[in-house]
C-alpha cells in the first residue's frame, strides 16, 4: 500500500498541527503578489516560499511537477527552454508569484477561452491537511478518474482546504507562429465579431477590446494563421507592440487597471453591451469585462446577475464582499466541505467566503 509521503518541512506540519490544536488561523502565503485578492487577510503568517523546486519535468510527457514555493518565472523559463508553456497564461501581477499561489488563486490570462483555464491544466496535487498529513490527488497523467477530482477543487480554493504543497500541470508546445490583428470597432460590434469568429475553425488565442480597438491574436500552424489573417482582416500589429499588449492584459498592467475602483465581470461571451456607464475593457472574446466604478445608483452585481454572470470587486471598498454571493445551497456545501477538511477553521479563515 502506498504511503502519502509528505516530504514537507517539519516546521509546517508542526505549525499546522499546533494551529489545529489551538484553533488559530494560519495565513498561507507565497510571494504575496495576491495579498490584495479575496477577502481580508487574517491569521498568523505561514510563508510557503521555502519549499521550492521542479520535481519532475519530461517534455514528451507534457507534464511538469513542482513544489508550491517554486517561482512562476522559474517554471516558465524551464518550459520555454523546451519550447513549451503554460497555456492558461497565469497572471504574475507585480511580484514573481509562486506556483502554489498561481493554483490556489486559479486565475487565467487572455488565452483562457481558447486554450482552457488554470483548472483545466491541473493534473495532480499534494495537500497538507489540517491533520498534518500529506495527501496526493490526481497524478502526472492526462487521464485519471480514480476518486473525486479534488485537485481541480483545490484550484481557486484560496487555500481554505489545506496547503497545496505540490502541483502537476499539463503543459503544451508553444505555437509555431503568433500574430495579432487590430481592428477599429465599437465594443458591441467587436463582441459580435469575436463570437462569430469563435464559431469558425480559426486558430484564435486572444480576443480583446480596449479604447476603441479590437485585438485578435492567432496562434498555431503557420498555414492556419495565414489563412485566418485573410478571413479576419484588420491591421497586423508589430510583434513587440502585440506582445506588450497581451502581456499588459495578462498581468493586469494595462492603464485601464489603474482605476481606483474596479469590477471584474464574468459573463456569457455574447452578452450585449451592459447597462453600465463608461467604456469597459473586454477580454476573453466578450466573456470578461472590466468596469471602473460607476456612479452609486448602479448596482454592478445586479447587472451582471441579470446577464447570467457574476461580478467580482477587484479593487476599492467592498462592503458587500469581494466575490459575487453564492446561492444558499452552494454556500452550504462550501461550509460542509470546509468543516470536513478543516474542522477548526485554521486555513486562510474568511479569505474565500466571510466567516468560513
Amino acid at each position: 500500500m502506498p504511503e502519502a509521503n509528505g516530504t514537507v518541512p517539519d516546521e509546517w506540519r508542526e505549525r499546522v498541527l499546533g494551529a489545529s490544536r489551538e484553533g488559530v488561523g494560519l495565513r498561507l502565503r507565497g510571494a504575496g503578489s495576491k495579498d490584495f485578492y479575496g477577502e481580508a487577510l487574517t491569521g498568523e503568517l505561514l510563508d510557503l516560499r521555502s519549499f521550492r523546486g521542479i520535481v519532475d519535468y519530461e517534455p514528451s510527457e507534457l507534464v511538469i511537477t513542482a513544489r508550491c514555493g517554486t517561482p512562476l518565472s522559474e517554471v516558465e523559463a524551464v518550459l520555454a527552454a523546451q519550447g513549451q508553456f503554460l497555456a492558461f497564461e497565469p497572471p504574475a501581477f507585480s511580484a514573481d508569484p509562486t506556483l502554489g499561489g498561481v493554483i490556489a488563486v486559479g486565475l487565467s490570462g487572455p488565452r483562457r477561452m481558447f486554450a482552457g483555464a488554470a483548472r483545466d491544466f491541473v493534473l495532480g496535487t499534494r495537500l497538507l491537511t489540517a491533520q498534518g498529513e500529506v495527501l496526493r490527488f490526481g497524478g502526472q497523467v492526462m487521464k485519471n478518474v480514480a476518486g473525486f477530482d479534488v485537485s481541480r477543487l483545490l484550484c481557486g480554493s484560496l487555500g481554505i482546504l489545506g496547503v497545496i504543497t505540490e502541483v502537476s500541470l499539463k503543459v503544451l508546445p508553444r505555437p509555431r507562429l503568433e500574430e495579432t490583428l487590430r481592428l477599429e470597432l465599437p465594443a458591441a460590434e467587436a463582441v459580435a465579431a469575436f463570437n462569430r469568429w469563435a464559431a469558425l475553425p480559426l486558430p484564435l488565442s486572444g480576443a480583446a477590446w480596449a479604447q476603441g480597438s479590437a485585438w485578435v491574436r492567432l496562434s498555431g500552424a503557420p498555414a492556419a494563421v495565414r489563412a485566418a489573417r485573410q478571413q479576419i482582416g484588420g491591421d497586423p500589429v508589430a510583434t513587440p507592440l502585440a506582445e506588450s499588449f497581451w502581456s499588459a492584459l495578462r498581468h493586469y498592467q494595462h492603464t485601464f487597471f489603474s482605476a481606483a475602483g474596479l469590477w471584474r465581470l464574468s459573463l456569457p461571451s455574447a452578452t450585449p453591451p451592459l447597462a453600465l456607464p463608461g467604456e469597459p475593457l473586454i477580454d476573453w472574446g466578450g466573456a470578461l469585462r472590466w468596469y471602473a466604478d460607476p456612479p452609486r445608483e448602479f448596482d454592478v452585481r445586479e447587472v451582471a446577475g441579470a446577464a447570467q454572470g457574476t461580478a467580482l470587486r477587484w479593487r476599492g471598498a467592498a462592503p458587500e464582499g469581494r466575490f459575487h454571493p453564492l446561492p444558499a445551497i452552494n454556500a452550504r456545501l462550501h461550509r460542509r466541505l470546509k468543516e470536513r477538511f478543516d474542522p477548526r477553521g485554521i486555513f486562510n479563515p474568511g479569505r474565500l467566503i466571510p466567516g468560513l
Binding site: P2, G147, F148, S157, T310
Partner: protein, 488 residues
Amino acid sequence: MAGSDAVPDIAAELRAVLPADCVLARAEERRPYECDGLTAFRELPAVVVLPRTDEHVRRTLLTCQRLKVPLVARGSGTGLSGGATPHPAGVLLSCARMNRVLEVDPVNRIARLEPGVPNLKVSEAAAPHGLYYAPDPSSQVACSIGGNVAENSGGVHCLKYGLTVHNVIGLRGYTVDGERIELGGLAPDHPGLDLLALAIGSEGLLLIVTEVTVKLIPRPPMAQLVMASFADVHSAGNAVAAIIAAGIIPAALEMMDRKATAAVEPFVHAGYDLDAAAILLVESDGTSEEVREQVQEIEHVLREAGAGALRVSGSEAERLRLWSGRKNAFPAAGRLSPDYYCMDGTIPRKHVGRVLEAIGEMETRYGLRCMNVFHAGDGNLHPVILFDANEPGSWEHADRFGAEILELCVALGGTITGEHGVGLEKLNSMCVQFSAAERAAFFAVKEAFDPVPLLNPGKLIPTLVRCAEYGRMHVHAGALPHPELPRF
C-alpha cells in the same frame, strides 16, 4: 410479489407522487436494469423509476430521503465499471426518458441537454451550425451525456480536445435532499470552490443531474489519418514520445498491438498491417493547409522513429475505415472469445513498451490471452483480457489478471482508471492507489453532499475494512507484486 417485503412499499410510495408509468416494480420490468456494461456484476433493483421531468426527479429523491432508500442513477447503461449496478434494496433512476436537446445556442456556442441525450446526438444537433461536442467515447452512439458527466468520459480525441470536465460548463440538478442546485453556467468563471469540477466524474455519488450545458466547438474542415507499422512495441512507444517532443499535438494518437489488429482485421477489413508488432493511428485535423503541413511532419517523425510501412488516408471513406477497426476492437474481442474484460489504466507515456511486455508475461502466467488497444497520446491503456465465464473460476482469474495490470500502472506513476471510472469494479484497486487518509478525504467529500449516504452508496470509495481484507488476500507472504518498483 415474492422476495423482499420492502419492494411493494417503495413502489407504492413512489406511485403516490409519480405517474404510474414512471415506476416499474415487476421483476421482469426491472430485469433489463440489473447491470450496466460490466455484466459480471448484477443486482435486481427494488424499483426502477423513469422520470420525465425535473419534478419527477425531485419527488423521487424526496421519497428516497424519507424512506432512507438508496438511489442509483443510470444513463444508457454502457458504463464499464459497474457504476450503475443497482442497489438491491434501492431505487434505480433511469434518465432514458429525459432525452431532449433543450437548446442549441450557436452564438454562445453551447447546448443545454437533458441527461439522457446520447453523446452523438449532441454533435448532430450542433452540426447545422458547423459546431460539435468534442468528447467521443467509443460508445457514443448509445452512451448518454449524463453518464459522461458521471464518469468524466474521454474518447480518442482527448489529447487535443480534453475530457468531459473540459467541455461541460454547467450542471443543474438536485441534492440528495431534493434541493435545486446549479453549478457553473454560461459565464466562464464562478465564485467559490469549483464544485462543477468536483461533480464531474463523481459517479452519481454527490448529486442527481437533470440538465447539462456543454461547450460546442467549430468542426475542423478536414481530418487525415496516418497509419504506421512498427516491428516492436518499444519503437512504437518511442514514436509516440517523438511526436509529442516535436511539438505536435495530433487530434488522436492510438496504438494497437498485433493481437488487436489480428482480431479486428477479419471483422472490419480496415487494411491493417498484420505483420507489424504494433500500429499507430495518428490523426491530424484543421484547415486543409494546416493538415497538409502537419501530416508531412508526422510522417517525417514516424520515419525517423523507425516506422516501417506508412499509409495516409486519401479519402474520408478510407479514414473512417481505418478508424472502424479501432472503434470495433471490443466487439471483435467478443468474436474471439466468449467473454472479455476491458481494463482502463493510465501510465506515463514513456512506459508503454515496458507495460506491454509485462502484460505479455502475465498472459503466460495466467494462461489467458490479452489484446491491447491504447489511447497512446494520453497514456491510457485498454488491455482486453479474453476468457470464458463458463469455465469455473475463469472470471476470478481474469479479474486478478486485470488487478495486476492496474497495480503495475500505479507503480509506474499512473492510475487505475483513465476514463471508465471506479464503480464497483475497481474498489480493490483504489486501496492500492490511495492511502487510508486519502480515502478518508474522499469520504469527507461524499459526506458533505450526502451524509447518510443514499446516492450510489458503496461505489467509488472502498471502506477501510474492504482495503484491509484486500491487503490480506493480496500480499502473499509479505511479498508485493513487482517488488523492484518504487512505491511512492
